[in-house]
C-alpha cells in the first residue's frame, strides 16, 4: 500500500510529461498516468505530436516502463465544445485565439481534475514549464520555455493541487533526464510546436470544415490602409493576424503590416510598422490567480504574446472580469483574442483575453 498521495499525470507521450511522470515516481508518489483523447482524427496521421496512436503508445510505453497504470481518456466532446468551437468562433469574429489557453482552463485543469477527484488523487501533474509554489503560480526556471502564458485561466483553487516537476528545469535538463532514465523514444523527440488538433498547421482547413467556405471570415474582401485607401483583395480575413506581413500586396515604399481586422466589413487594415505600436490594452474574461488582485495605479508586467518580453505597465482600471493597463513603452501588435498575462516578478498574477 503506497503511503504517498496519488497524483494523476497527463501524459502526452512527449518528453516533458514523460519526465514529469518519471520524477514523480522517483519521489515516491502513487502515480496514475492518463493520455487524453481530445479529437478523433489523430489516428490516421503518423508521428503527430499529440493524440495519435503513436503519441498514445509512447505514453503507454513510458508508463509501462515506470510501472504505473495508464489510461486513455475520451474527452472529445468537452474539448470540441470548450476548445475547438471557441477557436473557430474567435476567428470568425476577427480575433486570433490561443486554444492552449482554453484547453488548460477547461480541459487539463478542470475536466482532468474531476477525473483526479474520481480516483482519489489530491494532485494533478503535467509537464508544463511552470512552478506552483505555496498555492501560487510562478514562471518556470527556463525563461525560454516558460509556459505560464498559457495557464492564466485555470481555477485558483487548482494551483495548490498542481505538481509541476519540470518547472524547475531547463529543456536541456529534461532531455538529459529522459536519456538517463532511458525512457523509450521520447528523449530526442521533435517538439510539438503546432496546435494539437490542427494537422500540419493548416488551421484554415478547420475553419472551412466548421464554418463552410462561404462564411464571411473566409470570403474575399478588401485590404485597406488606415486612411481608407483600398490597396488589394484578400481571400478571407481569418487568414490574417495583427502584425502579419505575409500575404499582403507588395509595392509600397514602407513594408505593410496587418494592423486591424474588421469583420463587419470583411476588411483587412494595413499600415506601416509604426502603426502596430500600442501603449494601451484592455482585457476581458480576466482571471486572477492571487488573493489580492492588482488595483488601479499598481505596477505590473505584461506579456501580450508567448515568449514576448515582460513589458512594464500601470493598471488603469480593474472591474469585474476586466482590466485595462497603460504600457510604459509602446509594444507591437497587441492582438484581440490573444492573452494578456500579468506578472509580478515570477508570480503569475492572472490574465485575460485582449479586447
Amino acid at each position: 500500500m503506497n503511503a504517498m498521495p496519488r497524483v494523476l499525470v497527463a501524459m502526452s507521450g512527449g518528453v516533458d510529461s514523460s519526465v514529469a511522470a518519471a520524477l514523480l515516481v522517483r519521489q515516491g508518489y502513487d502515480v496514475v498516468g492518463v493520455t487524453m483523447k481530445l479529437f478523433e482524427d489523430g489516428a490516421e496521421l503518423p508521428d503527430r505530436p499529440c493524440c495519435s496512436l503513436d503519441a498514445t503508445s509512447d505514453a503507454r510505453r513510458v508508463a509501462e516502463q515506470l510501472g504505473i497504470p495508464h489510461y486513455v481518456l475520451n474527452m472529445i466532446d468537452h474539448f470540441g465544445r470548450d476548445v475547438i468551437a471557441d477557436f473557430v468562433a474567435e476567428y470568425a469574429r476577427g480575433r486570433t485565439p490561443i486554444p492552449c489557453v482554453r484547453c488548460n482552463t477547461f480541459t487539463k485543469f478542470s475536466d482532468l481534475v474531476a477525473k483526479a477527484d474520481g480516483i482519489d488523487a489530491p494532485y494533478v501533474a503535467t509537464g508544463h514549464y511552470a512552478r506552483a509554489v505555496a498555492g501560487e503560480l510562478h514562471r518556470g526556471a527556463d525563461d525560454n520555455k516558460d509556459q505560464t502564458y498559457f495557464l492564466w485561466g485555470i481555477n485558483r483553487d487548482v494551483v495548490k493541487r498542481m505538481l509541476l516537476p519540470v518547472g524547475e528545469m531547463t529543456k536541456a535538463e529534461t532531455r538529459a533526464v529522459a536519456r538517463e532514465l532511458q525512457l523509450p523514444r521520447v528523449a530526442d523527440k521533435a517538439e510539438s510546436q503546432e496546435i494539437c488538433f490542427v494537422p500540419d498547421g493548416d488551421y484554415v482547413q478547420i475553419l472551412r470544415r466548421e464554418l463552410g467556405d462561404t462564411a464571411p471570415a473566409l470570403s474575399p474582401g478588401r485590404i485597406v490602409t488606415t486612411a481608407g485607401d483600398v490597396v488589394g483583395e484578400h481571400e478571407g480575413f481569418a487568414r490574417y493576424t495583427i502584425g502579419q506581413r505575409r500575404g499582403l500586396p507588395g509595392g509600397s515604399a514602407d513594408p505593410m503590416y496587418v494592423v486591424a481586422l474588421r469583420p463587419e466589413t470583411r476588411e483587412v487594415v494595413v499600415g506601416p510598422r509604426a502603426a502596430l505600436l500600442g501603449t494601451h490594452l484592455s482585457a476581458s474574461g480576466v482571471n486572477w490567480l492571487v488573493d489580492t488582485a492588482p488595483r488601479a495605479g499598481d505596477e505590473v508586467q505584461v506579456r501580450i504574446r508567448h515568449r514576448a518580453p515582460l513589458a512594464p505597465a500601470v493598471v488603469d482600471a480593474v472591474a469585474d472580469g476586466a482590466v485595462s493597463v497603460t504600457l510604459r513603452s509602446p509594444v507591437s501588435a497587441i492582438t484581440p483574442g490573444q492573452s494578456a498575462v500579468f506578472y509580478d516578478g515570477t508570480r503569475v498574477l492572472g490574465g485575460g483575453f485582449i479586447h
Binding site: 500500500m1 496514475v32 483523447k37 478523433e40 489516428a43 496512436l53 498514445t56 503508445s57 497504470p69 489510461y71 486513455v72 481518456l73 475520451n74 472529445i76 478542470s110 475536466d111 481534475v113 474531476a114 477525473k115 477527484d117 474520481g118 480516483i119 482519489d120 481555477n155 487548482v158
Partner: protein, 387 residues
C-alpha cells in the same frame, strides 16, 4: 493493492490451460517439422496436424476435411463471409443478410461485400438484444447469397435463434454462417443438428493460445480463399500449417467439452450471484439482455450517470478487470454498436460495462467485486462532473 486483482474479462480472453501448453510444446522443439514436408520430420508433423484436425472435427460433430484452421476467430469470420459470398456473387446472388450486433470481424466483412457489389441487409434487433425473426423472414429471400448471424453476442451474451435462422436461409437457398466464438464451450455446438454451412470458433476464448481458430466448412460448400500460395488445407488456406496450435486447439476443445455441463452450472451460479448482488446495491443498474436467454458467463450492465471509461478505470485501480464490450482497437472511443442497435439511449450505451466469469473466478471474488463496485460507481460519477 492489498489483495490480488480479479479478472472478470474471460469473454475477452482466457489463460492457456496447462494441459494445452503441455500438449503443444513438443511441436516447438523435438517435433518441429513442417507438415507438408515429405521426410520423417514432415510425416510426424503431418500425423499430429491430421490427428488434431480429426479431434477438432469430432468436437463439432464434423468431418476432418470440413475443418479449416485459421489464425483465429476474425480470420474464420472473414473467410466464411467473404469467401462464401464471393463465390455466390459469381453465380448471380448478391444479397447478404446479417445483423447490426455482429462482432466487427463479421460486420466489416459484410460491409466489404457491399463495397464489392453486395446488397447488404441488416436484420432488426429487439430491445432485449435478440434478432427479430419477422425481419429475417422479410429479408432472407431467393436473391440472398449468404446469411451470417452470431450464435451468442459477445457484449450482451444474448443467445440468438440460430436454428430458425438457419432454416430460413436453407429454404431460400442461401449459405448460413454463424460466429460461434462465444458459444463453443457454453452451448451445444453440433453441426449435425444445426444446419449451418460455415461456423467460426476461436481458441483463446476457451483455454487455447491466441491466434488459432477454425472455420467449419460443410462438405459441398464452395469457398473462395483469402490467401494465395501453397495448397495446404485443400487450397482453402495456404500457409504452413500451425501444428502446435492445431494440437492446442484440439486439446482445449476436448477439455472444454468434457467439463462443459459442470462449468456451465458453476459459471451461471457465479454470474447470477454477481448480478443479484449488484442490482441489490445499485437498484438503478440496467442489466442488458435480461429478458432474453443468455450464456452463463457474461454480465453486461449500464450504470446511469457514469461513463464506461471512468468506471473501468475506477474498477481497474481497485483491482477489478472488466471491459466495455469489445477489447479490439485501443484508443477507440465509439460507444457500443450493439447497444445502439438494441435501441438503447446513447447515455446508457456509453455507460456499459461487461463482466465475464470463467476459470479464474470463484465465490470469494464475486463477494469482493460486489463490495468494490458501488465505490467504483461513486468514483465514476464524480469524474463526470465539472470541477
Amino acid at each position: 493493492m492489498p489483495q490480488p486483482p480479479i479478472y472478470l474479462d474471460h469473454a475477452a480472453t482466457t489463460p492457456v490451460r496447462p494441459e494445452v501448453l503441455e500438449a503443444m510444446l513438443p511441436y516447438y522443439s523435438a517435433k518441429f517439422g513442417n507438415a507438408s514436408s515429405a521426410h520423417r520430420w514432415g510425416r510426424e508433423a503431418r500425423a499430429a496436424t491430421d490427428a488434431a484436425r480429426e479431434r477438432i472435427a469430432a468436437c463439432l460433430g464434423a468431418q476432418p476435411d470440413e475443418i479449416c484452421l485459421t489464425s483465429g476467430g476474425t480470420e474464420a469470420d472473414n473467410l466464411a463471409v467473404l469467401g462464401g459470398w464471393r463465390v455466390q456473387q459469381g453465380r448471380g446472388r448478391a444479397g447478404i443478410v446479417s445483423t447490426p450486433i455482429e462482432h466487427k470481424a463479421v460486420l466489416e466483412s459484410v460491409h466489404q461485400t457491399a463495397r464489392e457489389g453486395g446488397d447488404e441487409r441488416l436484420l432488426a434487433i429487439d430491445a432485449t438484444g435478440v434478432v427479430n425473426l419477422d425481419s429475417a423472414r422479410q429479408h432472407i429471400r431467393g436473391d440472398v447469397a449468404l446469411v451470417s448471424v452470431m450464435w451468442v453476442n459477445n457484449e450482451t451474451g444474448v443467445i440468438q435463434p440460430i436454428a430458425e435462422l438457419a432454416a430460413l436461409a436453407k429454404e431460400a437457398g442461401a449459405i448460413f454462417h454463424t460466429d460461434a466464438v462465444q458459444a463453443f464451450g457454453k452451448l451445444e455446438v453440433d453441426v449435425r443438428t444445426l444446419r449451418c454451412d460455415f461456423l467460426s470458433v476461436s481458441g483463446h476464448k476457451f483455454g487455447a493460445p491466441k491466434s488459432i481458430g477454425a472455420v467449419y466448412v460443410r462438405r459441398g460448400t464452395p469457398l473462395a480463399p483469402l490467401f494465395f500460395g501453397g495448397s495446404q488445407d485443400r487450397g482453402r488456406r495456404p500457409g504452413t500449417e500451425n501444428t502446435p496450435m492445431a494440437v492446442a486447439l484440439a486439446t482445449a476443445m476436448e477439455l472444454a467439452l468434457a467439463e462443459r455441463d459442470a462449468e456451465v452450472a458453476r459459471l451461471r451460479a457465479l454470474r447470477d450471484r454477481l448480478q443479484s448482488l449488484l442490482t441489490e446495491r445499485i437498484p438503478e443498474l440496467v442489466v442488458h439482455g435480461r429478458g432474453a436467454s443468455r450464456v452463463p458467463h457474461i454480465l453486461h450492465v449500464s450504470v446511469p450517470d457514469a461513463d464506461s471509461e471512468s468506471l473501468l478505470m475506477a474498477l481497474d485501480l481497485a483491482g477489478v478487470a472488466a471491459s466495455s464490450g469489445s477489447a479490439c482497437q485501443s484508443g477507440s472511443v465509439t460507444p457500443s454498436h450493439v447497444l445502439s442497435a438494441m435501441g438503447l439511449p446513447p447515455a446508457l450505451g456509453a455507460s456499459a460495462v461487461r463482466m465475464s466469469v470463467g476459470k479464474l473466478t470463484n465465490d470469494e471474488q464475486i463477494d469482493r467485486v460486489a463490495a468494490l463496485f458501488p465505490e467504483a460507481v461513486k468514483a465514476a460519477r464524480a469524474m463526470a462532473g465539472r470541477f
